[in-house]
């Protein structure tokens, strides 16, 4: 909402100098002033010029070439105005000037003659209506001075960012009311004196409301003998001051009253209405309608239409029709002033995608008590036009509009909610300052009737906000609530999430946050099978881009995109992780399943080349190590890594992927990204990932940690080297060893894997160090040798293994 101080000044005295104070106070009562500008800023590059000499244009009869003194220098201007003369002082626009009519002045050649500026008419500068010739300035004005300064042109315009609850302030008078309350002055409402005459309106037209729910009130007046012409300058000037472009006297008057009172009006060409009457009804199925802007719309029965005797002539409260708009030849108009139900207007406006000054106000709620005032105001202004006459009477069809009765306001409740201690009188005065009707109904109570324009006030608490707002939020003292010193248990998973983030950074991983929405093609890029549940993506109906069109079902695409972007910036070694949700779609109208996941990614080198070590690339065991370390930190044990069956994970490399199991439960996976997937994500270097289900982890974390005795007796270590089939997972050996260790195995450490050379094909040699220890005594060599031999024998038998030669 734009408002100019000059316009406000019509209703309340405004001290022009204190505009910034006014802006600040408006902001502090909840009407946020977004910007303050001078409406004449566009004149910044218009200066006072003096024509030194005039020559005829060599290539154009009607044009002149002038040398114009603009103070600092003399410029050349090609001009076609008839009234110029040597020594004339005139407003001179320099290049870059943006005229109110939209045109931007550029330096250029006119019929091959250089023109560096423009001598302007009053109308071109938005300072009057005369466009017959160049505006003549006082001979005494100094060349080079800015025009705005010379003519003392200045008018501050506030751009106010209104919240949807304050439609009453979508008008100059509405804002004037607020300022009046702030300045404790009274507002002077425009006086409407009507002189209507001649035929009675009821003999000339009629109004029928067939949808009173959507249109509780419709009123009209008729103005005849109109001569469509440009508006008087004062009217144009008012509209221009708030950024509206004048069109013609009738349209300008409806716009003026809209801006002044906040009540949208519409003027129909009375002679284009069939049967000269108005019918307010809902649209028929399949009906079409062409609005003022010549766009055709398909209507649905929930839309409210203003019709004449046979057809729709306006989209009620939103936009007039092309078939009934005021034109050059219009002589008789019907002015509409109505109340349309907010929800109806909003539905139609959203459905058709049309938003107008009018619909903006109707959908927020116009003043039900201001409809006739606005109608009369427009009628008065139209009747003041040369030659026009106002038809006698008014048609006002109306069913009841719900308005709130008195609201009972309890003073003590008010003080308690706000944390203040106002008395009844103070509250009464504050509410009265914004035209609320207040009556004391007891020691501690007030009966308050808000004015009809305050459609947002319905409950006592709404009045409390008014009291707080008017007395100033910043004058309410800060206090501290007294609350019981109790705490609820933190959610386990939330705590884990934070803990996991700390652990991962400790392992050298950097946290990323990727968008929750991804490209739908990610499924294909991950090579997901058609039955993969990761394909159950949640689609966004109105995505911003294809890249953000579906909710992710995995954190992996986001991480792959992130490493691709980083690699493009020459950062080729990365250790990243993310904690976030994946969203698995369910049946329509059910919320998706949100699964909190932890995922990590590794790519590039494990260690950089340095003075103490060589560069080495990371591999599967780096990512596995991170997962083992993490699970170890959160005390989840035992954990098993076993080969992922090839068809279970399509985006990792077969034979290079492990499923992570706790007991028999799958809690995640770790592996190398499939080469095809790398290509799909435009990656040229290997990447290793892991994914863990945080909910599953959270459920597995032991509630307590019990400390164990530090061993009292010495341990004995024995090494074992054994040759087994190449495809046997080493973890199988460990399991068997532990099972056969008679609970004396304290530690098992795999320290060598060897293939080739002396080892037969399809075999590998595994070396482990077993540490034996008893809790109860010092182990004897014989005892350990016996167990160790048993273990060796069992391994040989169970795995068809060999001892090294």
């Amino acid at each position: 909402m734009k408002v100019s101080l000059s316009w406000l000044n019509d209703y309340i005295p405004i001290d022009k100098e204190s505009y910034s104070n006014i802006a600040d106070s408006l902001t502090m009562v909840g009407l946020e002033v977004d910007s303050v500008t001078d409406r004449y800023d566009y004149l910044d590059s218009v200066v006072v010029g003096r024509i030194l000499n005039i020559k005829t244009h060599p290539n154009a009869e009607k044009l002149k070439v002038c040398d114009v003194d603009i103070g600092s220098r003399v410029i050349r201007i090609v001009c076609g105005a008839p009234n110029i003369y040597e020594d004339m002082v005139a407003p001179t626009a320099l290049q870059g000037t943006r005229f109110p009519e939209g045109y931007v002045l550029k330096k250029g050649r006119i019929r091959n003659e250089l023109s560096e500026g423009m001598l302007c008419s009053e109308a071109e500068l938005g300072l009057g209506t005369d466009r017959s010739g160049v505006m003549i300035l006082d001979q005494k004005q100094l060349t080079g001075n800015k025009l705005a300064k010379t003519l003392e042109l200045s008018d501050m315009v506030f751009e106010i960012d209104l919240t949807p609850n304050r439609p009453d302030c979508l008008s100059i008078i509405g804002l004037a009311r607020e300022i009046a309350a702030l300045q404790q002055t009274t507002i002077k409402y425009p006086e409407t004196l009507l002189s209507d005459s001649g035929d009675k309106i009821s003999d000339l037209t009629s109004i029928t409301i067939k949808a009173p729910d959507l249109c509780p009130r419709y009123s009209a007046r008729l103005v005849f003998d109109i001569n469509i012409a440009p508006s008087p300058f004062w009217l144009q000037d008012r509209l221009m001051s708030v950024g509206l472009r004048p069109i013609n006297n009738i349209v300008d008057i409806t716009n003026f009253v809209l801006m002044e009172t906040g009540q949208p009006l519409h003027a129909f060409d009375f002679d284009r209405l069939s049967d000269h009457r108005i019918v307010v009804r809902q649209a028929k199925k399949g009906e079409t309608f062409i609005t003022l802007d010549k766009k055709k719309h398909l209507l649905t029965p929930d839309m409210l239409m203003i019709c004449d005797g046979e057809k729709p002539v306006a989209l009620a409260g939103i936009m007039g029709g092309h078939n009934s708009e005021v034109t050059e030849s219009t002589t008789r108009v019907l002015i509409e002033s109505a109340y349309f139900t907010p929800v109806g207007i909003r539905k139609t406006s959203k459905k058709l995608g049309i938003s107008s000054e009018s619909s903006h106000r109707f959908e927020r709620g116009v003043d039900p008590g201001g409809i006739i005032t606005a109608l009369n105001r427009a009628a008065q202004l139209m009747s003041e036009l040369d030659g026009s006459s106002l038809i006698k009477g008014i048609i006002d069809k109306y069913s009841k509009i719900n308005n709130t009765g008195p609201i009972t306001l309890n003073v003590e409740h008010t003080n308690r909610l706000l944390g203040i201690s106002f008395d009844q009188d103070k509250i009464e005065n504050l509410l009265k300052s914004i035209e609320f009707n207040v009556e004391k109904t007891g020691n501690d109570e007030l009966a308050v009737v808000p004015p009809s324009f305050r459609v947002d006030i319905a409950r006592p608490v709404d009045l409390m906000e008014e009291i707080a707002r008017l007395s100033g939020y910043n004058n309410i003292p800060s206090t501290y609530p007294l609350i019981p010193a109790e705490a609820r248990h933190p959610e386990k998973q939330l705590r884990l999430k934070n803990r996991v983030k700390r652990i991962m950074t400790g392992f050298g991983f950097t946290e990323t946050i990727n968008y929750s929405f991804i490209n739908k093609l990610s499924c294909d890029r991950l090579r997901l099978e058609s039955a993969d549940q990761k394909r159950n993506m949640v689609d966004i109906l109105n995505p911003l881009t294809e890249e953000q069109a579906v909710m992710r079902t995995s954190l992996i695409p986001g991480l792959l995109e992130t490493i691709r972007r980083n690699i493009a910036q020459q950062i080729k070694s990365l250790r990243l992780f993310e904690v976030g949700k994946s969203y698995i779609g369910r049946e329509k109208d059910n919320l998706p399943e949100e699964i909190e996941m932890l995922a990590g990614i590794l790519t590039g080198s494990r260690t950089n080349a340095s003075w103490y070590s060589k560069e080495s690339d990371c591999n599967f065991f780096d990512i596995k190590g991170a997962v083992e370390g993490l699970l170890n930190r959160v005390k989840i044990d035992p954990i098993k890594f076993t080969c992922m069956p090839d068809n279970l994970c399509t985006y990792t490399r077969p034979g290079h992927t492990a499923q992570i199991l706790q007991e028999k439960k799958l809690i995640g996976l770790a592996g190398e990204i499939h080469p095809q997937v790398l290509r799909n994500f435009d990656l040229k270097q290997a990447a290793f990932i892991f994914e863990l289900d945080l909910k599953a982890i959270s459920d597995l974390i032991p509630l307590t940690i019990r400390s164990k005795q530090i061993p009292k007796f010495p341990s004995i270590s024995r090494d074992i080297t054994i040759i087994i089939n190449k495809d046997l997972e080493s973890s199988k050996l460990s399991e068997t060893i532990r099972k056969s260790g008679e609970k004396l195995i304290e530690n098992l450490y795999l320290f060598d894997v060897f293939e080739g050379n002396t080892i037969p094909q399809n075999k590998k040699s595994i070396s482990m160090r077993i540490t034996y220890r008893s809790k109860h005594k010092t182990l004897e060599d014989d005892e350990v040798n016996y167990i160790h031999k048993n273990i060796t024998d069992r391994l040989l038998k169970e795995f068809d293994a060999l001892l090294p030669a």
Binding site: R346, K347, A485, M551
Partner: protein, 338 residues
């Protein structure tokens, strides 16, 4: 004889000098062998004692043995001293060489700021809760007094999943879920991701908020001011003054925008605060009775305060970040600064 006696004293003196100047245990061991070894100087000297006149022999012999003992002790002592010294010979390390790299990760700035926010509010007595990001229209709008076809819906550009399911546009969606579960007193904060279809220098379609809700008997607007003032003073500093402005949220009444004195220019006016000296950082208010009615709380008994803030906004102010999109580009050179 004189000569011999002098010689033993000389040997003694020289040996001590050498021990003193030895810088490592190896040279002490070598010295020890040179003097006391089987073919050492002292042993040799003792062997040659038979060349002395018999009457002198006991005296000299005694002295040589004394020297031998004394040197032996000195060698042992020196050896002990030098062996505890780490350096060998003249070898010195270049301490200016880079140390062995410890891989370090970093927490995302949004995580760090979220933790800071939560930590302060937890101290004040709030518990942390979380809720779904894909949310029903009911919890995100309807139950918060934002009916369908209300202009307040224009305040947030919503991503729709279906007519009745949206990506939550604010963490306020958790308010009703919490109140349905708990009876007052309620003190909860809810950090999390929120979504709006908007993208430019200051908006990303996904961002983070922290919501706060406190419901009990006698909670006042003054309490809201007190809590948020404490919060801002901890988050920034005591000099960061606050300004409360009336505003509108359908689920609070009275509603307020909370501005803080610009942390960049301290109110003088700069690009960051659009030359106003103030920064809008928190939306807040007293819980609207309609919201209480939706969860069955007794509006004559309970009042509540609620507030919400954007984590990115605060992170940008705290770290001097000018483009919100950087948070989600995840450029490692950006992330590792925090």
């Amino acid at each position: 004889m004189e000569k011999v006696e002098k010689t033993i004293e000389q040997i003694y003196e020289e040996a001590f000098k050498e021990i003193k100047f030895a810088t490592d245990s190896e040279s002490i061991k070598a010295l020890s062998i040179r003097y006391l070894g089987r073919k050492g100087i002292i042993t040799n000297f003792l062997r040659n004692i038979s060349n002395l006149p018999p009457e002198k022999r006991p005296e000299v012999g005694k002295r040589v043995n004394e020297v031998k003992k004394s040197l032996d002790k000195a060698f042992k002592h020196a050896l002990k001293r030098l062996e505890t010294k780490p350096s060998q010979k003249d070898y010195r390390i270049d301490v200016s060489l880079p140390g062995r790299t410890i891989q370090q990760g970093s927490l995302h700035p949004i995580t760090q700021i979220t933790w800071q926010i939560c930590e302060i509010l937890e101290k004040i007595g709030f518990d942390i809760a979380e809720g779904p990001e894909v949310e029903t229209d009911h919890y995100n709008f309807e139950a918060l007094n934002i009916p369908k076809n209300h202009p307040a819906r224009d305040m947030q550009d919503t991503f729709y999943i279906s007519d009745n399911i949206v990506l939550r546009t604010h963490t306020s969606s958790i308010q009703v879920r919490i109140m349905e579960k708990l009876t007052p007193p309620v003190r909860v904060i809810a950090p999390g991701k929120v979504y709006r279809c908007d993208s430019d220098l200051t908006h990303t379609p996904m961002f983070h908020q922290v919501e706060g809700l406190m419901v009990d008997e006698g909670i006042s607007f003054g309490d809201l001011k007190g809590i948020l003032t404490t919060f801002i003073h901890h988050m920034f500093d005591e000099k960061t003054t606050l300004r409360f402005r009336p505003s509108f949220f359908p689920f609070t009444e009275p509603s307020a925008e909370v501005d803080i004195l610009c942390v960049m220019c301290r109110g003088k006016g700069c690009r960051v605060c659009s030359h106003t000296g103030w920064l809008e950082v928190i939306g807040a208010g007293m819980v609207h009775p309609a919201v209480f009615e939706n969860v069955g709380y007794d509006t004559t008994r309970y009042t509540g305060l609620a507030f919400g803030m954007g984590v990115e906004r605060i992170a940008m102010l705290k770290y001097g970040i000018d483009d919100i999109r950087k948070f989600f580009e995840n450029d490692s050179r950006f992330l590792r600064q925090f």
